[in-house]
């Protein structure tokens, strides 16, 4: 049965996030002849519209109100709700990101809908949409569906492959004027401090170099950062390293903290507590470097080196430099 799908396209720093295209790919799997509509908020969204249509949107609803140029819960809520009322979709998808996971539950509550969050796979089984999502930070998984009515889900970034761009596609574009109720925007963003512009965002990095208690100090993260830089990756940490004050909690990977699934995860001086393994064991390839041959991190590693990270990591950095120059 054909389904009309609405995708709220996630914007960060004025750029369309890849997860928006991933949502469109998921939408095209389930639409079955229905209309795929993308909606994008804020002024200056012309290039974004093209990108969306090349990746599967049949229709794009823009809401160019300048009050949507940066995210606030209430403004996005008002606009999202009015777009949903206009499009009347069977399925609503957006990213499980700072935006998607903040506004979607409020929409779901107002419209009395079920919401399936943080999904890593979408399929249609006997005409029903079935979502796979991790629980216990990936120690287990569930398959869920919505009982009846509108299907609403947020998708975890980096899990659904994007459709190849088809530049011959062009979507029907429509601007929607939204009305904001008096005093509707109850939070004010005074200032945004960018901390991630220099580095690669941990949750979306292809390579993660991660340190545990074995790094011994704040300075101990320097060789890890150098290795990450050579590989175009990001630095992460175990809870042990964060609790010891060697690094910011923003770097923590585990059941509390971030869950990452990079192509390559290099664990340095990390023992491998269950709570840490939950956050990284679904990485494609795992390398462990640890002095202790009995460390449980080796049980999930594809490759292990038993040795002192302060010896091994700089050697590894040099070796990668050599090899990457040759390529």
């Amino acid at each position: 049965m054909s389904k009309n799908v609405l995708v709220l396209a996630d914007i960060r720093d004025g750029e369309l996030r890849n997860v928006a295209l991933e949502c469109l790919a998921a939408a095209s799997r389930v639409a079955d002849g229905g209309v795929v509509t993308a909606t994008v908020f804020g002024s200056k969204r012309k290039e974004t519209v093209e990108q969306l249509s090349h990746h599967g949107a049949d229709q794009v609803v823009t809401v160019s109100d300048t009050r949507l140029d940066s995210y606030t819960t209430d403004a996005y809520f008002q606009a999202f709700k009015q777009v949903i009322e206009k499009v009347n979709p069977d399925v609503i998808l957006t990213g499980h990101t700072a935006v998607g996971r903040d506004v979607s539950p409020r929409i779901a509550a107002r419209l009395e809908l079920g919401l399936i969050s943080d999904c890593t796979e979408v399929e249609v089984v006997d005409g029903k949409m079935v979502f796979t999502r991790p629980i216990y930070a990936g120690k287990a998984f569930v398959k869920k569906s919505v009982r009846e009515g509108t299907v609403f889900a947020t998708l975890r970034p980096n899990n659904i492959p994007v459709l190849e761009a088809d530049t011959s596609r062009s979507a029907v574009v429509e601007e929607l004027e939204v009305t904001f109720a008096e005093d509707a925007i109850r939070t004010l963003v005074k200032e945004v401090v960018r901390k991630t512009t220099d580095g690669v965002d941990l949750s979306e990095a292809r390579v993660v170099v991660s340190g545990g208690r074995g790094v011994k100090s704040e300075d101990g993260f320097k060789p890890l950062q150098e290795l990450a830089d050579v590989l175009g990756g990001a630095v992460g940490a175990s809870r042990g390293a964060c609790d010891a004050g060697y690094c910011d909690y923003a770097l923590q990977i585990g059941q509390t903290g971030k869950v990452v699934t990079p192509d390559l995860y290099i664990a340095c001086g990390i023992s491998g507590a269950i709570q840490h393994l939950a956050g990284m064991s679904n990485s494609k390839v795992i390398v462990a470097i640890n002095k202790d041959p009995e460390a449980s991190i080796f049980s999930v590693a594809d490759y292990g080196i038993v040795g002192d990270l302060f010896e091994v990591v700089p050697m590894l950095t040099e070796e990668f430099k050599k090899v990457l120059v040759e390529q």
Binding site: T73, T97, A98, R101, D102, S104, P105, R106, A108, A109, R110, E112, G114, L115, S117, D118, P134, I135, Y136, A137, A140, F141, K143, K144, S145, V146, R147, R186, T187, V189, E191, V192, V193, R194, D201, L231, Y249, G254, T256, L264, A273, I274, A278, V285, I286, F298, S299, V300, A301, D302, Y303, G304, I305, E311, V312, L316, E319, F320, V323, L324
Partner: protein, 256 residues
């Protein structure tokens, strides 16, 4: 200041997951306050100590969840409310948010705190859903909170960046890691907590109809990820191992 904290009892983070008869087994499992909710409890106690008032901790769950409330009271919360979830069938985030809203609509409050997500289901829905049902604003994933009179200032973690946000009471905020360092309950705290008031409610007390609270979503299957086989521990001189590793990552694993 009237301060409410919504919390959930969850498995300890060091627990392994075992599936029995298609369900996650809680046999012999250690339970804790969901770590993100623990930040909320700590922040609530600090707000109370600064501004005066009372901290009420609220949970929806089975009998054992009472222990989580007692722990929060041992940390310093003043009283607890537990809503028995026995009559709730197929409850999901929709159901839990509705139950919490029903409890809270009869209470006075200036601020509601909770963790931004629970480490078990990890859906990060109940906080914002509850704020919507109560028609108050919310700020999620906060790492700092300052209240002065009616005005609220918070630092919000936005996937690594920080937003400085202003708003007003009443409000709901959800805690991100880094908000504070939760205290351990002291021995006198534990003794005192035993005597603090704990109210037990069921759906009838709240004029709620269980059919009306049935979850909007259903779980079809619970499964474990494929077990990872232990890989190769490299051998030989360290510089040889490093060379071999890089070569294997290139040609065998093809990730470089």
């Amino acid at each position: 200041m009237d301060i409410l904290v919504c919390l959930k009892q969850t498995f300890d983070t060091e627990e392994r997951i075992v599936i029995e008869d298609g369900q996650i087994s809680d046999d012999g499992v250690e339970f804790v306050i969901n770590p993100y909710d623990e930040y909320a409890v700590e922040e609530a106690i600090r707000l109370r100590d600064e501004h005066g008032g009372e901290v009420t901790v609220i949970t929806v769950g089975p009998d054992r969840a009472e222990q989580a409330l007692r722990t929060a009271m041992a940390m310093g919360a003043d009283k607890g409310i537990i809503v028995d979830d026995e009559d709730l069938e197929n409850a999901d985030e929709y159901s839990i948010a509705r139950v919490l809203a029903a409890v809270i609509k009869d209470l006075d409050f200036d601020i509601i705190l909770g963790g931004y997500m629970a480490i078990d289901d990890g859906s990060a829905q109940v906080g914002p859903r509850l704020a919507e049902l109560l028609e108050i604003p919310h700020i999620s994933t906060i790492t700092k909170l300052t209240i002065d009179g009616e005005s609220v200032e918070a630092e919000k973690d936005v996937e690594g960046d920080v937003e400085y946000i202003q708003s007003k009471l009443p409000i709901l905020v959800t805690a991100q890691q880094g908000l504070n360092d939760p205290r351990y309950p002291s021995l006198p705290g534990i003794m005192k907590a035993k005597k603090k008031p704990l109210e037990q409610l069921d759906l009838d007390d709240l004029d709620l109809d269980e059919e009306d609270l049935e979850g909007k979503t259903e779980t079809l299957e619970v499964f474990l990820p494929p077990e990872k086989e232990a890989g190769k521990i490299l051998e030989g001189e360290l510089d040889e191992q490093v060379k071999e590793l890089v070569q294997r990552l290139q040609s065998e694993a093809k990730v470089i």
